[in-house]
C-alpha cells in the first residue's frame, strides 16, 4: 500500500519522468516487435508498420496508462489551481475585489458568530455544565421569587429532582475603590462545580455553616491579576466589601468567572448575607427570599418534569400563601452556557442573525454578478474548449476551483477582519466610554475556538458554492455553435432581480449613512444643550447604609475645605429617568408628573433659580413637611395664568423606601416655590416635562449625597474618595462626577452612530462592488450591441453616458427610497428622543451625496469599457 502511495506521489511530482519511462518502454516494445517481424521475413518498413498497427492510438494509450496511475484527479486539481491562479494574475483587480467583498461578509458574520458562541454555545468551564439548571418561580402577582435559606437547605437535602444544588446572591461593592461584582454562595458552590483554586483554597462547606462568622472571600483569577498584580502573597490579606473587612483565602482557577454573562470578581459565603446587606434578615427569624437556586437535574428527568416537581414542592411549602403570593409557575432554565438558547432568545436573535446573513448573501450576489460578467467575457474561450471535447463537468469543476480559491483567502482575510473588529470594537468601547465608567464594563473572553473555525470553513465553502455555481453552470451551457461564434442569448436571466438588488443596496446605504449623520450631529449638539443645571464641579456619592456611616460621612464632607455646598436627592440628574406617577392640581385633571426628593440646598448646588417663593427649610427637610416645589413648566401646565405658590398638588407616590414613608399615606402638598425648568433624568428628556420636588434630609437613607467641590472636579473627587476610605472604610459604594453620569448617558448615542456609521461604510463598500459587478455584467452582455452602435456612428462618450445613465437611474431610485426611509426613521427618533433635532439637512444631503459619488465611481470603470467596444468584433461575430 505504501508502495502504491509512493508511486502516486511520484506520479504527481515527477510526472514528466514517468512519461519518459513509458515512452522508452513503448519504444522498446515497438523495436522488439519490429525485429521479430524482420526475422519473419518482412521488409524493415513493413515490419515497423505492422508493429505500430498492433498498438492502436499511442496517445490514447498513454492517457489511459496515466489515468491508471491514479494521478489524474490530483493532477487535475493542480492543473485547475494553476490555471485559476494564472487567470487571477491576468485580472488582479477582479480577484482582489472578490476576495475583499467575500472577506467583508465572512468577517462580519464571524464577528457576530464569535459573540454568539461566547455567550450561547461555549459551555461553562465547570464540571458537567449540561446538567446545571437554574430554578425560579413566579407568584400570582407575576413577581419573580427566589428562595430563603431554609427553602434552599430543604431542596438540597431532599435530593429528589436535583441531585445537588447551591444557592447564590449577586452583590455589588467596591474593592480598593474600584467597582467589583461578586456573589454570595453556599459552601458547596466550588466543590459542586469542580472549580479548584489557583492559589490558596476555594470556599468550603464550613465557610457557610454559621451565619455571619466567616468573613472570607475568594477572588477570581482575572481580578487577582488585574487588580492585585498577581500578588502571590495575597492569601491572608484583608479587603473591604461593603465596609466589612474580609480575608482573602484563595484565588479561583483560571478561566472561571461564575455562571452568568458578566465575569465576576469575587465570591463570599452566603452566610455573610446579613452582615453585608445591613441585617437584610436572610438568617433572621423571618428569612427573606434572598437567594437564587442552581442545581443538577437528575439525568432521567426532563426540564419540564423538573419544573413539575418544583411546583409540587412550592405548593407544599407555600401552602399558607394567599392572594398574590400563591405560586403560579416554576421555571427550570439550563445554565450550561452564559445565555440559554430559549425560544425567546431565538426570537430575539433571529432578526440580528438574518441581518448578518443578508450581508453575506449580498456580498455573494455581488460576486456572483462579477463572476457572471467574467463568464460572459470568457464565453468564447469556454465555448472553444467545449467544442474541442472538454467535458462540461470538467469546466464547471474548473470554475468552481476558481471560486474556492477565491473563497479560501477570503476566509483568512475574513478571520483577520473579525479579530480586528472584535479587538478594535472592545478597545474602541473602552477608549470612548468615560474613563470613570471603564471599570464597570465586563466582557466575556472572545477568543476564537474550534466552533468558530468550523463556522468559517462552512461559511466560506457555502459562499464559494453560492457565488461560483450559478455563473459556472451558465457560462458552460453546452451551446457550442453559438459559443464558438461568441454569441449568446441576451435574455439569459431576468435582470430585474439584479437591478432590485442594487436599488436595495443603495437604499440601505443612504438610510444608514443618514442615520449616522443625524446621530453624529445630534450628539455634538447634545453636549452643548441647554440643560438648565450647572453640572460641572458636582460629585455624587452613594453611601453604604450602615448605622452611623451616613452621619460621619456628612460631617467629614461638611468639614472639608474643598466642599462648597452639600445636598442630597433620591434621584440626582442623569442617574436614570425620574419616577413618574399620575398627579395634578388638587382640583384639576390627572396627568403624569415626575417627582424627586431633594434637600433645600439642591437648587443652589446645581444653580437652578427659584423663580417664585422659596426653597425648603431644614425643619421641612427633617419632618418631610407637606410642601412642594414645582418647575415653571409644571406651574404653567397646572395653573395657567394663576399664582402657583399656595396651590395644592396631589400625587400618588408608591415608594417603599423607609425614609419616604410619610408620603405613602399623605398625597397632597402645598406649593411653596417654583424652580426654573431643567433636564430631568436623562440628557434626551425635554426641559418642560412636569416635575415636583419634595423635601427630604440628607440624613435619610437611600439618598445619594451631592457635593459641589472646588478645584479640578475629577481630582477633588478622587481626593475625597481616598480621604473617606481612610476615615470611614467602605463607606462609599460609588463616587462619580455628575459630568461622568452625563457622558455615560450620551454614550449609547455615540456608540450608536459609530455602529450605524460603520455599517453604513460597509454597506457603501458592498454597494460599490455591487454596482461594479452588475454594470460589468451588463456591459459584457451588451458588447455586441455597443459595437454595432459604434459601427453605426455612436461616439464613445455617448456609449459611456448610456451605461452610466442606466446605473444612475437605479442609483436615483435607491437614493429616493433611502431618503424617504431615513425621514421615517427620523420621525421615530423624534418620537423617542425629544431633544434630538432629526431633520438635519446636512446629514441628509451628506449621506445622499456620498452614496451618489460612490455609485458614479463604481459605474465609471465598466462604463468606460462600453466606450471601448470594438465594432469589428461585433460585425465579425454577427
Amino acid at each position: 500500500m505504501l508502495d502504491a502511495l509512493r508511486l502516486r506521489l511520484r506520479a504527481l511530482f515527477r510526472g514528466s519522468a514517468m512519461d519518459a519511462e513509458l515512452d522508452e518502454e513503448l519504444r522498446y516494445h515497438l523495436d522488439a516487435e519490429t525485429e521479430r517481424n524482420i526475422t519473419r521475413g518482412m521488409s524493415p518498413k513493413e515490419a515497423a508498420l505492422a508493429a505500430r498497427r498492433g498498438f492502436g492510438n499511442p496517445t490514447q494509450l498513454k492517457e489511459e496508462a496515466r489515468d491508471s496511475w491514479g494521478r489524474s484527479w490530483l493532477e487535475r486539481l493542480v492543473a485547475d489551481t494553476r490555471y485559476a491562479l494564472r487567470s487571477f494574475r491576468r485580472a488582479p483587480g477582479f480577484a482582489v475585489t472578490v476576495v475583499a467583498t467575500i472577506a467583508l461578509g465572512l468577517g462580519l458574520n464571524t464577528t457576530a458568530f464569535t459573540i454568539f458562541d461566547a455567550y450561547v454555545l461555549r459551555p461553562m468551564a465547570v464540571r458537567d455544565p449540561a446538567s446545571l439548571y437554574q430554578i425560579t418561580w413566579h407568584d400570582r402577582g407575576d413577581r419573580v421569587r427566589g428562595f430563603s435559606w431554609r427553602d434552599y437547605e430543604d431542596i438540597r437535602n431532599t435530593r429528589e429532582a436535583l441531585s445537588e444544588s447551591f444557592a447564590i446572591r449577586s452583590i455589588f461593592s467596591r474593592i480598593d475603590s474600584l467597582p467589583a461584582y461578586g456573589q454570595l454562595v453556599s459552601g458547596n458552590f466550588f466543590s459542586m462545580l469542580g472549580v479548584g483554586a489557583a492559589l490558596g483554597r476555594t470556599l468550603v462547606a464550613s465557610d457557610a455553616a454559621e451565619p455571619g462568622t466567616q468573613a472570607v472571600v475568594v477572588l477570581s483569577y482575572d481580578t487577582w491579576r488585574s487588580r492585585f498584580g498577581a500578588d502571590s502573597s495575597i492569601i491572608g490579606k484583608m479587603v473591604r466589601v461593603r465596609g466589612q473587612a474580609m480575608e482573602v483565602v484563595g484565588v479561583a482557577a483560571r478561566g472561571f468567572g461564575g455562571l452568568g454573562d458578566t465575569p465576576l470578581d469575587f465570591w463570599a459565603p452566603a452566610t455573610m448575607n446579613d452582615v453585608l446587606f445591613d441585617g437584610d434578615g436572610a438568617f433572621g427569624p423571618h428569612q427573606t427570599e434572598a437567594f437564587w437556586l442552581i442545581g443538577r437535574l437528575r439525568p432521567e428527568l426532563t426540564p419540564s418534569q423538573g419544573s413539575a416537581w418544583m411546583m409540587s414542592w412550592l405548593r407544599a411549602h407555600h401552602s399558607d400563601a394567599r392572594g398574590r403570593d400563591v405560586p403560579s409557575d416554576a421555571t427550570v432554565q439550563s445554565r450550561a452556557t452564559s445565555i440559554a438558547l430559549t425560544p425567546e432568545f431565538v426570537i430575539f436573535f433571529t432578526p440580528i442573525a438574518t441581518a448578518f446573513v443578508l450581508v453575506l448573501l449580498t456580498a455573494c450576489a455581488n460576486v456572483a454578478n462579477m463572476m457572471l460578467a467574467r463568464g460572459l467575457a470568457r464565453q468564447r474561450e469556454l465555448g472553444i474548449r467545449l467544442s474541442l471535447g472538454a467535458a462540461r463537468g470538467r469546466l464547471v469543476g474548473q470554475l468552481l476551483t476558481e471560486a474556492v480559491l477565491l473563497a479560501l483567502p477570503a476566509a483568512l482575510l475574513g478571520f483577520a477582519i473579525s479579530r480586528f473588529t472584535i479587538d478594535g470594537g472592545v478597545r474602541l468601547m473602552f477608549a470612548t466610554i468615560p474613563a470613570e465608567l471603564g471599570p464597570y464594563m465586563r466582557i466575556v473572553p472572545l477568543a476564537p475556538d474550534g466552533r468558530i473555525f468550523l463556522f468559517m470553513l462552512v461559511a466560506a465553502v457555502t459562499a464559494a458554492l453560492l457565488f461560483g455555481l450559478a455563473p459556472a453552470l451558465q457560462a458552460t451551457r453546452p451551446n457550442i455553435v453559438q459559443a464558438t461564434r461568441g454569441d449568446f442569448d441576451t435574455d439569459v436571466r431576468p435582470s430585474r432581480l439584479r437591478n432590485s438588488l442594487i436599488v436595495a443596496q443603495v437604499t440601505t446605504c443612504v438610510l444608514l449613512l443618514v442615520c449616522a449623520g443625524i446621530l453624529f450631529r445630534g450628539v455634538g449638539r447634545m453636549q452643548q444643550l441647554e440643560i438648565g443645571i450647572q453640572t460641572h464641579g458636582v460629585v455624587r456619592l452613594d453611601l453604604q447604609e450602615r448605622p452611623g456611616v451616613r452621619t460621619r460621612v456628612l460631617q467629614l464632607l461638611h468639614d472639608r475645605a474643598d466642599v462648597r455646598t452639600l445636598a442630597a436627592a433620591t434621584d440626582p440628574p442623569f442617574g436614570h429617568r425620574f419616577p413618574t406617577v399620575p398627579g395634578g392640581a388638587a382640583d384639576g385633571p390627572v396627568q403624569p408628573i415626575s417627582y424627586d426628593f431633594v434637600t433645600g440646598s439642591y437648587f443652589g448646588l446645581f444653580g437652578i433659580p427659584i423663580i417664585r417663593g422659596r426653597t425648603f427649610t431644614a425643619q421641612e427637610e427633617r419632618v418631610g413637611a407637606a410642601v412642594v416645589i414645582v418647575s415653571d413648566a409644571t406651574a404653567r401646565a397646572l395653573w395657567p395664568g394663576r399664582e402657583p405658590v399656595g396651590q395644592v398638588v396631589r400625587l400618588t407616590i408608591d415608594s417603599t423606601s423607609g425614609a419616604l414613608a410619610p408620603f405613602r399615606t399623605r398625597r397632597e402638598a402645598t406649593v411653596i416655590g417654583v424652580a426654573a425648568n431643567v433636564v430631568l433624568g436623562t440628557v434626551i428628556d425635554p426641559l418642560d416635562s412636569p416635575v415636583a420636588y419634595y423635601p427630604s434630609s440628607a440624613e435619610n437613607a437611600d439618598m445619594p449625597v451631592l457635593v459641589r467641590v472646588t478645584g479640578p472636579q475629577g481630582l477633588t473627587a478622587r481626593r475625597i474618595d481616598s480621604a473617606l476610605a481612610k476615615r470611614v472604610p467602605g463607606s462609599v459604594e460609588d463616587l462619580h462626577t455628575i459630568d461622568d453620569y452625563m457622558y455615560g448617558g450620551i454614550y449609547p448615542f455615540r456608540a450608536t452612530y459609530w455602529i450605524a456609521g460603520a455599517l453604513g461604510v460597509i454597506a457603501l463598500l458592498l454597494t460599490l462592488t455591487g454596482v461594479y459587478g452588475v454594470l460589468s455584467y451588463v456591459v459584457a452582455q451588451r458588447r455586441k450591441e455597443l459595437g454595432i452602435r459604434i459601427a453605426l456612428g455612436a461616439s464613445a462618450e455617448k456609449l459611456v453616458g448610456l451605461v452610466l445613465g442606466q446605473s444612475m437611474r437605479l442609483c436615483a431610485i435607491g437614493l429616493v427610497a433611502g431618503t424617504v426611509l431615513a425621514l421615517g426613521v427620523a420621525r421615530l427618533f423624534e418620537a423617542n428622543i425629544v431633544r434630538l433635532d432629526t431633520y438635519e439637512p446636512a446629514a441628509f444631503a451628506g449621506g445622499a451625496l456620498l452614496v451618489m459619488l460612490c455609485c458614479l465611481v463604481a459605474s465609471y470603470i465598466p462604463s468606460r469599457r462600453a466606450g471601448k467596444a470594438d465594432p469589428m468584433e461585433a460585425l465579425r461575430s454577427g
Binding site: 522498446y28 516494445h29 525485429e35
Partner: protein, 112 residues
C-alpha cells in the same frame, strides 16, 4: 453471432489475471508478455498491446507487481515486471473466483 475469426476478445478484467499468472513464472518485460500470451494461447487470444501497458501500470499502482529497469536479451534497457507478495495473493484469489465463475457458466451452458 457468427464470427469467422479464430481470435476472440479478452473478457473484461481477465487481462490482469493473465498477466499475474504469466509473471508467476518469473520477471518479464511487456513485449515478452505479449509473446507469451500469443504462444501459450496458440494465438487465439488477441491481446491489444495498447491495453497491456495501462494494465501493467494499474497492477503496479495497486502494489501487485513491482517494476525495475534491466537489460534484455538484445542488450537494451527494458522494464521488467515482477510479482509481489500481495500480487501472489491476488492471483490466488482471482484464480479461485475465475474457477467458480467458469464452473457456474459451464453448468448453465450444459443444462440444456
Amino acid at each position: 453471432m457468427a464470427r469467422k475469426s479464430a481470435k476472440i476478445d479478452l473478457l473484461q478484467g481477465t487481462l490482469d489475471l493473465i498477466v499475474l499468472k504469466l509473471l508467476r513464472a518469473g520477471a518479464a518485460n511487456g513485449w515478452q508478455l505479449t509473446q507469451s500470451i500469443q504462444a501459450i494461447s496458440h494465438g487465439v487470444l488477441d491481446v491489444n498491446y495498447g491495453s497491456l501497458y495501462p494494465a501493467l501500470r494499474r497492477l503496479e499502482a495497486r502494489g501487485w507487481v513491482s517494476a525495475s529497469w534491466a537489460s534484455s536479451e538484445n542488450n537494451r534497457r527494458a522494464r521488467y515486471y515482477q510479482l509481489t507478495a500481495a500480487g501472489r495473493k491476488q492471483l490466488e484469489a482471482e484464480r479461485a473466483s475465475w474457477e467458480r465463475f467458469s464452473q457456474a457458466l459451464g453448468l448453465i451452458l450444459q443444462s440444456e
